[in-house]
Symmetry: C2
């Protein structure tokens, strides 16, 4: 490992120049001859009956090629993981983003104008916008055919005996924490181009995070359209951010498909920024009642959590985030008895989706806030409490996670040291320090039937390789990481590696970009294929150099004997010898890596990931008691990453995660009033910008994960997981008030101070 | 073999609908944002000194982005197989197509106008346009630095003792035959788009027949430009015909590269039809002195051939066609003693290139015309003479070709029978029959260091496969043949196979489309990869069905036991079981096939191909003694194809080859006068059209080639090889005159009749 040439180096993202110079082609840039432009008409009410829908005027507008409504969709065709979402709605609309008609026209402007010519009459209905209301006995049913507004997803994890532990605990705290809607704020808005060939095979230009699963979804849709056994090809444009938002297929994509079928032309639908705000699926808001106990020495005895999630009107992956929330709830720190019951509830709000962390930030906000409360009650320094209960390698957690490598303690110590914890803590002078830890999947997550990724590598006669990976680079830098791994294994410069990642015709299967799995899973897949190439080279070079292949190594494009350095040959020369021989060959290899992780059993137990990532964030804040404004003075983000394949990108993930977490903690909120989004633009919905970046210190803790590529774990999501509770805890340390409802706005702080002063 | 579902079927070309509806994207259709248009200024004289070259006015024309001349090219940079061709010429021009300047502008029209503003003054020099003149002692040297106008390519094959055989022969004939320049007449004209990225990596959109070798050529060019170790990617547009014309890289491509480098923009150069005629490289003209002998029983004793080829001013693959001419000269019919000496000679004519048959048509015209003369002299029916001397399986020819399968006798019998030879022959009534046979490489041809082709296959969860092949489909239908082979082996419908063949980043290495090698070599590569997929399926299905994999078969997407038909599973289900298992995988396989053929040794001997294709064409003609016009009444084209993978495409190759051969025999000729092409357009250069198609009977003779995919041999070129001599022989039978100089025009017939009547 000491001798690494490419892995472990701070290598800039290989696609950065393309993006920096505007040469990268985003979905917005896709142009196909004859292409039409689609636009969608959304509901004007969050809950209403459609009385009249007349598209005749729109159809007559010159330049309009098709106007579609629910009647053009296959009957009973539904999308989403619960199949509760018709891509075009009829009868009743259930949320303000309900799609009721769409137009394809020769220009976006004509399409837009046509929308205004569609006549719709509604009978407005009262809506339910509060999940607690929706859960009440006798509440109006959002989906009439469902028997309850509570989704049939029995999220319920029981480990040990919580009730008994409660009785045996020395200290117990209980409180309720809540989180808000936030959205991904991808700079590249959603969009697609649907294009049928003459055989009714579909090519979908997309910025999906799940090309292989999207392919399945669209195959299924074509079946519904009566187009059986057709091919679907997903071509991903350069993706301007994902963060979980593109983890499902959406109504607009099926509408583009329908319009393309109707018009026999390619149809492009691109979201405006306003659509991106109100018509995509955010991180859901949660209400979490949490109770924690410990013994007299501060050892955790139980954790008891009840949660309500606002699912919105339809169901996508957001409804499954409790599966990941279970991870910190059951296994963040050693806690023998755990109970977690979560309910996802239909409302007339927008429906929710996965977002970086996949529920973990909401759960960790509750857990880590509550832990500080417990520490106070037990009279233990909160960092010390965490030291006492920190996870360790070799542990098997109550949910049956097998902890292999674990750098949690090291991360906590880094926070302690770099935050100057002892000196800064408990000063009650308007400045304070706080911390929070995290656990997250770091070695894939078996949520689908396969958690695998395939890689194909071919190598030319001069040592240049093409790598076809199932992995999607949504900006996180996976292409660079994969190129590094391949370059290191084969012994070539990274410039000689070309990563192809955007076409299901070419790239092998992959379950998608989620669960921080790409470096780990796609990295291992690339590693496996690269090793096969390396073996072929060494075997052939052994013959050329008359050496045992086991004694050969490749670095910087030279094959040499490790025993006798004078015995060497340029790699290209060896490759040409391998190729230009009777029965010769160019080098190719394929490898499919599926981690040995487990699907949960019916009790939601099992080793979901083959590795777990840990981290601890510590924050020093200064709170202005006059304005309620929080200023971050210092921010230490220590992460157990296994091995840093590319410290530059890793730090980028930590900076980015931290900043996104700070936005979540202190400012971002989608303001919904009676189902209508009130701040759907970047003027009113404020994300932290470059000017808002506090002094973040990323700290990389390496633990050498045995199953990871070069020892690495996944690290895509963790950066924002502990941010909000660390800040909340620091604020409490600074001014003695605890904000339990995100975001922690100046108004809430002032109100809390006022209440405290009373 | 009896049970084949896809192979052996008349399946229409899978790309036909695209082409028929105009959806296919040719090089003409490639458009890249910011793309400029390049145009080339050619010499006005076939031989001249450039006195002045002033581009200043052109540079000032609005819209012009670059004007380049030889001084912009790297000094001493030369292209072509002898490196005798600077892409932009300075000092002296050596042919009328010499490129002396080029322009890149925002529109083709502006580029064209800019060319007219370039001021050139020439000092015209006397040229040499006759290779016999050029060979004379003291002749002016075309390339001053060369010592002779005769290329340093010592084509010389000696087998046995020709002089001794001459003395021992019962009958001997000797005569001289000559052939004309003809051009490929691709309906898609030449063109390219050169596009550099920010790292100076080059993407070249091209219609080359040799993507892997062109990649090497351009890498070399970038090196010359000082761009070391850059990546070159070749993307092939849909190719509108090749026929050998795109077997090399050309000046226009390097000019596009230069212009793209100068302007930092993509640059497109597309030939006009006129350029396609005069500025591409045709089949060269030849003068062949041939002598044949046989014993009293008609057994051939020797063949003695001397040949002069007009190479033109520069050297491309045309100069190497004698290597393939050796094949019929040494091995068409059993002939123990052979001598062949060929000289390629520089002239101030256009330089020549490979064209379908690669010299074989020229050589076979001389051989088969001469054989008829020998038969007459020996008093043997010419078909009988060929029966006596026909090649046979198991033979090793004097040039050391190992004949495996050989259907020559069967082909001759087909001609005999279907032409009604006995009845029609020797009637001297203005109607006559004639025949000629052919031998050609049918199992690759090791002319480069590798004769290989790679294939990668991946299979999705529903049984659909993507095949990445090195093979290029230039219209011959290789995609369809490869799809059939893969579909047959895996047991799926051909619709489920997607062939990707046009991108060096994706497709494995292949030496190029030439030597009729694609069905054989790329077919075997696809077969090898498909078998690996099949094995994986059967192994897994064996477990699912609890059967020995050896007892399983796959047809029409069902895996079943051959012993117990009730035991079966849909393929897709088996695939999903293979994939959706812990440690599961999607199926991928790679295979590189390099045939076990040999490069020639220094004496030009060796088993060039692992299989040889045979055929015999028989023609019945009617000759109008008044007009000299030849009418083809019947045309039997019998071909030993090993196994017909797709009889429909095979017949297409035979029809097309026959028609191209008829054009060669009876009409096509590039009329060069003192180095200038006089008929460079489709009005004056007449190719046979649909209206000219005679009744061609394609006859498929199957011989089951052991090394061929499903027993197939290559059959791309043979269709035109024996056409001209078969027609010439038939004309002789009809009217008693023999035309020895192609094309056989009415004028030549009338002149010959007149001379005979004297």
């Amino acid at each position: 490992m000491d001798n690494l040439k490419v892995v472990g180096k701070k290598i800039p993202k290989i696609d950065a120049p393309l993006k920096a110079t505007g040469a990268a082609l985003y979905i917005q840039d896709v142009k196909i001859p004859g292409m039409l432009h689609g636009k969608i008409l959304y509901s004007q009410y969050p809950h209403a009956r459609i009385i009249k829908l007349d598209t005749s005027k729109a159809e007559k507008l010159p330049g309009v090629r098709a106007v579609v409504t629910a009647k053009d969709m296959p009957p009973n065709f539904r999308i989403g993981i619960m199949k509760d979402n018709p891509p075009l709605k009829s009868g009743k609309v259930l949320s303000i983003r309900d799609e009721i008609a769409a137009v394809a026209a020769t220009t976006p402007e004509i399409a837009e104008e046509a929308l205004s010519l569609i006549e719709v009459e509604y009978e407005e209905l009262p809506g339910i916008f509060d999940p607690l209301e929706a859960m009440k006995e006798g509440a109006m049913l959002i989906h009439e055919e469902a028997k309850s507004n509570i989704l049939k997803m029995p999220w319920r994890l029981i480990c040990g005996d919580v009730e008994k532990a409660k009785q045996e605990s020395a200290y117990i705290v209980e409180d309720t924490f809540s989180t808000q809607w936030v959205t991904h704020c991808c700079l590249g808005t959603s969009g697609c181009v649907a294009h049928f060939d003459m055989h009714n095979n579909l090519t979908m230009y997309s910025n999906t995070q799940i090309p292989s699963l999207a392919q399945n979804d669209f195959v299924e849709a074509l079946n519904a359209f009566g187009l059986k056994n057709r091919r679907v090809r997903i071509i991903q444009a350069v993706i301007g951010g994902g963060f979980g938002s593109k983890l499902d297929t959406y109504a607009y994509e099926y509408i583009a498909i329908l319009l393309a079928l109707k018009t026999r032309k390619p149809v492009k639908i691109i979201f405006t920024r306003e659509e991106e705000f109100f018509a995509t699926s955010p991180r859901q808001c949660t209400i979490t009642k949490i109770s924690h106990g410990c013994d007299k020495d501060g050892r955790l005895t139980f954790r008891d959590v009840e949660m309500v999630l606002d699912n919105g009107a339809y169901t996508s992956w957001g409804a499954t985030t409790p599966s990941v929330m279970m991870l910190p709830i059951s296994s963040l720190y050693k806690v023998p008895n755990v109970r977690y019951i979560a309910k996802c509830v239909y409302t007339n709000n927008t429906y929710c989706q996965a977002m970086r962390g996949y529920g973990n930030p909401q759960a960790t906000f509750a857990i880590e806030s509550s832990l500080d409360q417990l520490a106070e009650k037990a009279g233990i320094d909160p960092l010390e409490l965490r030291r006492i209960n920190a996870n360790e390698p070799g542990e098997i957690t109550p949910q049956r996670f097998k902890i292999t490598s674990c750098g949690m303690k090291e991360c906590i110590e880094e926070v302690y040291k770099r935050l100057n914890w002892k000196e800064k803590r408990g000063k009650d002078n308007g400045r304070g320090v706080g911390m929070a830890s995290l656990i997250h999947v770091g070695g894939g997550a078996r949520v689908y039937k396969s958690d695998g990724c395939g890689t194909i590598i071919k190598m030319d006669d001069f040592g240049k390789v093409d790598v076809f990976t199932g992995a999607s680079d949504i900006g996180q830098g996976s292409d660079t990481v994969i190129a590094q791994i391949v370059a290191e294994v084969i012994g070539i410069p990274i410039e000689d590696v070309n990563v192809i990642n955007n076409d299901t015709d070419i790239c092998p299967w992959d379950v998608g970009v989620h669960a921080s799995r790409t470096t780990f899973v796609a990295g291992n897949a690339a590693l496996g294929a690269a090793r096969k190439i390396r073996e072929q080279i060494l075997e052939a070079a052994g013959k050329i150099l008359d050496e045992d292949p086991a004694d050969l190594d490749i670095k910087d494009g030279m094959v040499f004997s490790t025993k006798n350095k004078e015995k060497s040959t340029p790699l290209g020369k060896a490759l040409r010898k391998i190729h230009y021989t009777l029965g010769g060959k160019m080098l190719m290899a394929e490898y499919f890596y599926d981690p040995a992780n487990e699907n949960f059993d019916k009790e939601f137990k099992g080793n979901l990931s083959v590795s777990y990532a840990y981290g601890a964030h510590g924050v020093e804040v200064e709170v202005d008691r006059e304005t309620g404004k929080v200023k971050i003075l210092n921010y230490v983000a220590a992460h157990d990453v296994g091995k840093a394949i590319n410290p530059l990108l890793l730090e980028g993930q930590i900076y980015g995660g931290g900043l996104q977490g700070i936005g979540y903690a202190l400012g971002e909120k989608m303001v919904y009033q009676n189902g209508r989004l009130m701040n759907g633009n970047f003027l009113d919905y404020k994300i932290p910008t470059a000017k808002d970046v506090p002094p973040i210190q990323p700290v990389i803790v390496e633990t050498d994960e045995k199953d990871g590529p070069f020892g690495a774990k996944g690290i895509g999501e963790p950066g924002l997981v502990p941010t909000a509770p660390a800040i909340a805890n620091a604020i409490y340390d600074a001014i003695g008030v605890r904000i339990k409802d995100l975001p922690i706005t100046p108004e809430k702080i002032l109100a809390a101070l006022k209440a405290k002063d009373k």
